[in-house]
Subunit: 468 residues, 2 copies
Amino acid sequence: MTYDFAQIDGIINARSLAIVGASNAPMKFGSLFTRSQVSMGFEGDLYLVNPNEQEIMGRQAYPDIPSLPGPVDLVYLTIPAHRSMQVLRDCAGRGVKGVIVMASGFREIGPEGKALEEEALALAREGGFRLIGPNCFGIYNPRNGLTLLPGHDFSREVGGTAFISQSGGFSAHVARLGRSLGIDFSAVVSYGNAADLDESELLEYFADDPQTRLISGYLEGIKDGKAFRDALSRAAAVKPVVLWKVGQAESSRRAVLSHTGSLAGSGEVWDALMKQCGVVSVSGVEELCDVFLAFEHLGRTSGRLLVSGGGGGLGTYGADLAEAAGLEVPALSAGSMARLQEILNRAGAVAGNPLDIGAPLIPMEIFESAMMEAGRDPATDVLVFDLAVNFGYDLAGEDGVREAARILAHVKDETGKNVVAVLYSRSNDAGNLYFEGLIRDLTQGLREAGVAVYPSMSRAITALAKLR
Amino acid sequence: MTYDFAQIDGIINARSLAIVGASNAPMKFGSLFTRSQVSMGFEGDLYLVNPNEQEIMGRQAYPDIPSLPGPVDLVYLTIPAHRSMQVLRDCAGRGVKGVIVMASGFREIGPEGKALEEEALALAREGGFRLIGPNCFGIYNPRNGLTLLPGHDFSREVGGTAFISQSGGFSAHVARLGRSLGIDFSAVVSYGNAADLDESELLEYFADDPQTRLISGYLEGIKDGKAFRDALSRAAAVKPVVLWKVGQAESSRRAVLSHTGSLAGSGEVWDALMKQCGVVSVSGVEELCDVFLAFEHLGRTSGRLLVSGGGGGLGTYGADLAEAAGLEVPALSAGSMARLQEILNRAGAVAGNPLDIGAPLIPMEIFESAMMEAGRDPATDVLVFDLAVNFGYDLAGEDGVREAARILAHVKDETGKNVVAVLYSRSNDAGNLYFEGLIRDLTQGLREAGVAVYPSMSRAITALAKLR
């Protein structure tokens, strides 16, 4: 298809939605997705279609698409594959912009399914609408409340991160985890087998979408190598692009074929293309979200690190990781060095980079002076501090660690230096959630102050290294 | 020194301890360590030494070592470096087996400290006792309750894991995190600058110690290359050895020098030695503890994996990671494949390896049959399952995920196949600790049933790959 911004935009920002297969049975997707639209407050018209029901969740049910009282931008099919064809026929000539086919049982199961998928695609072409999927969830868009992912605990905050995914599970996972991390999305699109609307057009769309500042994706296969290369070059030229690609290994190629019927392609070609376009390659939901956070708080480059903690091992380990990942951990400027030596004139502390404040439980006024000096050091751009929650600070009670977190946020505010905090519990006993609660609370406060927070030094360093 | 098992054993399993610098001031280490012995129930005689106190925490205080009423195996100095020399002199000829010098301000600060360290070593030689440290915490030993790490929330369960560490902070961190993970220790030794007792002798000791089944360490530098090579070969020949070595990067070499006054040595030589001796190399506390868990539950090799989850993305990603890490994810045996196809005859499920059960919320009787079949598959040795806690299973309520966890434990029990569960929350909102509590509870139950649990697919796969 020729890329058409307006049509894709009309689907993603749909003003009306019909759910075919809407249901009162609580464990069915048709019920789950209906509830999601209502709970999440989908702002358009919502039509529920099921020939066997009069009413679904207190709303009128329609027997089929032709009986709907008004036009509909987006039709969502939660019915089995073989029953989808008639509905696709019904959608023709009604101004429908897109149909999402959730069912599996298409290309990914072999020749029979492939024929069905081709039939669906032909019906979409004839009907003048785009097909999303099959074998997918759909679209989550906080702009209009469209929530075609399972659940109703997603955010309605509109942000700048777009995520496209061939896996439905990962699309919901990323949207949900992102919420916890304070990452807001422009949209998340689960597009499954990509029979029609594919990764290339979605890259083009989000490159053009003014709400989107960062484009990310989980990809299993590439439908059209040339189109993808063009779309990726164009997108990466205007916005940061972060991609997670699977299917490099033999067993995962088998899996990709049976999951979304895609051909995974060669790892070497992929790596070269990512490098050429300046795309950030990641692996796993955690790493993807870690990179979102880094972009959110640090922008497109991380710069030279000052690694610090209370205890020599922490900084030594952090510096080791950073340099292994290709990040600079330079010696401090002479002025900072001299002032830190004066401030940290105590047993166990070592002025330098890494910077060892000596112990986690040093007096807070010394901690504040040292961090402020570290924040002002001109030889480094980012201060990474391991904030030992239940080791040391906890000896001084919750107030101690809260004060230390406040100081780190203050240093960022005062000096303008990027600050990254590493914040985790040194134990996670069943039955004791106290530290976990404290950490989440501190994390939220630090993030709101613009400090990126990671649960381990290695995740912090990996995310920073990905920004290079 | 010539390695002497009995003397080191007499220190680690000390029957009497004197804390010099014991204190009533709550924020001092002398107070912290005194409380630790009492709370953790140190089983030997405990003497508190402080010339300025009559009584400390309700116990008699002695002015100095000569005034102690009986012999003492181990003396712990929490006093500053320059005041330590007199105490070392006082220890001579009293049957003291070892003195731990906690203070920093020795070799790591430069020539003046180096002279002081050499003086301390000479006094130890003259006095006939071993020096541990300086610039360290000390020994945690659940066998006798000796707890010379800050805190009193360590386990008294005796296990088979020994951990030696040049970093005091990491020694406490590993001991504490290990407790949460159900890892029990034979001992943890923080040995700092290694002026006398060093990594080589500790390796020899734990190789000989019948309680220790696995030896691990965090190392910044090696004191004597030849001695280390010999000790490591000998230890690795009899027990698994897992080492975390820092100081490969320039900034961390600087840090190592100022942290424990050690020379970090060359990365290439190190890597070659690790490989030659069959030592597992790790990086970071999380990876170290992940490997402990893998050894605990799977033994010395992981074998061929069957990777599974509810949703195609999970298994595809897991298989991708596994093969990239050099693990086998072979096709299933023909019999298992046929039976799984029959059991999982439902939309979205894909029999194979990776194995996609279709969705997280499949009926539990089908889940049980499928997992049991996966457990019996002769082509694979380990079943890795991503147990999606708050995606799908939670729709069926807490009972659903509890039942799924019970089934995984049952599969291990029934089939004898190693089972690894990946268990994490898809969100971690501040203010909602429900899923975290559920996960910790399930994790504990699974671990007690012999199922290794990891918080992400990548940590599971990395740990399994380290066993090879």
